[in-house]
């Protein structure tokens, strides 16, 4: 076998690494904007799905344009609140994009994005993002609330790599459907979040849904995620939702 000098080996490796580095950086820069758009588009799509919109996605020819259009039509406003429930000046969508970093901070220091949905009948709903840990990796989702900021209208969840058929079921309709109509505050206004009950929740339980058999750790992770993320909104929800909350009860 031919022998190569050490100098040759050094030069060879350096040139090789240089070529590879230039090539990859160039490609990453060229494709970066498109990839970013895909990620943003997915977030928008999930936000819309939590209020039952973007249902014609499969038929849409240009999915990105379709999602963009739906998002502009239905998501009338977005804002950011802090732990105390006061509005702060920040971009809700930008925070949603980096929700993983946001959730890793102490609850008092986090910023909490809210998306406002308004449909043709002027019904208003509020959508908040949630992010947490499953068994194998991150899980996340979007929960939409009715105007009382207490009753859940819908929820979508997704995951990076939960066990197929078990934990991965959190992104299926039957699991997400159970959240519809549940409430996160009790009659006295105390925060209850949503419990994911192993062995099945009592259908009359306003704060509980069925866990996934065999997917206990994912179910528990989802419960912890909801509690962790939604608890930061307590102050805001009480302030904002109190109007309707008080009206309902003063009759």
């Amino acid at each position: 076998m031919k022998q190569f000098s050490n100098t040759y080996i050094f030069i060879f490796s350096m040139v090789m690494v240089l070529i590879v580095a230039v090539l990859l950086s160039f490609v990453a820069m060229q494709l970066g904007p498109r990839q970013e758009m895909n990620v943003q588009n997915e977030r928008k799509q999930d936000i819309l799905r939590s209020v039952g919109k973007a249902e014609k996605l499969k038929e849409a020819e240009d999915r990105i344009a379709y999602i963009d259009e739906e998002f502009r039509t239905y998501i009338s406003d977005s804002y950011v609140v802090n732990y105390e429930g006061e509005r702060v000046d920040a971009d809700a969508f930008a925070i949603t994009l980096r929700i993983r970093d946001e959730v890793s901070e102490a609850p008092e220091d986090r910023l909490y994005p809210v998306f406002t949905y308004t449909d043709e009948q002027d019904e208003v709903m509020y959508i908040v993002p949630v992010y947490g840990k499953g068994l194998w990796g991150p899980i996340w989702g979007y929960v939409s609330f009715h105007a009382d900021m207490n009753t859940i209208n819908g929820a979508v969840f997704d995951h990076k790599g939960e066990t197929p058929g078990l934990g991965a079921e959190i992104n299926t309709d039957w699991f997400q459907e159970a959240f519809r109509g549940k409430t996160i505050f009790d009659e006295k206004g105390a925060f209850k979040s949503i419990r994911v009950v192993k062995g099945g929740a009592d259908p009359d339980d306003p704060h509980g849904v069925d866990a996934i058999s065999g997917g206990t750790i994912t179910s528990k992770g989802l419960e912890a995620m909801l509690k962790n993320c939604l608890s930061g909104y307590i102050n805001h929800f009480k302030m904002q939702g109190n109007l309707t909350y008080g009206m309902n009860h003063s009759i």
Binding site: M1, F4, F12, V17, V20, L23, V27, N38
Partner: protein, 215 residues
């Protein structure tokens, strides 16, 4: 490229393309690249994309290594091979993320893990390091096709029996379900991929006795 004026598709070259599909199949005969075969074969579509990705990576890496084979210092050849493979894989990953985002999400880490797919390192080390670019290209295409073929067969049965669909189109009529037919949830789990691969190996060996080890 062909200084000895060998025709491009000579019998010898065609063999490079055909053998990995059957008698020297990387998965069923050499039992390489099993882990990704288990992971991505729940549905047919990601399997097809995975097969195409591996084909692109293996064919190009084989050619690049073959072109450089006289200049690669033997002492760092494994590193050079890895760098070439890793570069190709990252390119494929970036392109999928930009143009096939949904599928790249389904394949998730497995595209990145093509780097560690033993078939690719194996072909670079065993073939491209000692052969000309054209045969190397054919060898790469052949082996990737052999890998992809098994992937697609396994995914076909897993999707059909596990989800009742082919390429996400429902093929098992609703009337079957009304009669009490249920999708086999076990097909979705990784162990069934092993069992399906096992059945393919069994069928292949009972038809081709040369593959059976002599005792």
């Amino acid at each position: 490229m062909n200084s000895d004026n060998e025709p491009l598709f000579s019998a010898k070259n065609l063999k490079l393309l055909k053998e990995p599909l059957g008698s020297s199949n990387p998965i069923t005969v050499q039992v390489l690249g099993i882990c990704s075969a288990l992971a991505v074969t729940v549905k047919l579509k990601p399997s097809i994309v995975m097969a195409i990705s591996v084909m692109a990576v293996l064919a190009v890496s084989n050619v690049v290594i073959s072109l450089l084979r006289k200049r690669i210092p033997p002492r760092i050849r494994i590193i050079v091979q890895l760098v070439v493979i890793a570069t190709m894989v990252i390119l494929v990953d970036e392109i999928l993320k930009a143009f096939a985002y949904e599928i790249s999400k389904q394949l998730s880490v497995f595209v990145g893990l093509i780097i560690t797919n033993c078939i690719i390192m194996g072909r670079l080390e065993a073939f491209a390091m000692g052969n000309k670019p054209w045969p190397s290209l054919l060898d790469g295409l052949g082996n990737a096709a052999g890998y992809g073929l098994i992937l697609i067969i396994v995914a076909f049965f897993r999707e059909l029996l596990g989800s009742g669909t082919i390429l996400d189109y429902q093929v098992i009529p609703n009337s079957f379900y009304e009669f009490g037919y249920v999708n086999n949830g076990l097909m979705i789990l990784p162990p069934m991929a092993l069992i399906v691969v096992g059945i393919i190996i069994w069928i292949q060996r009972s038809r081709n006795k040369d593959l059976v080890e002599n005792r």
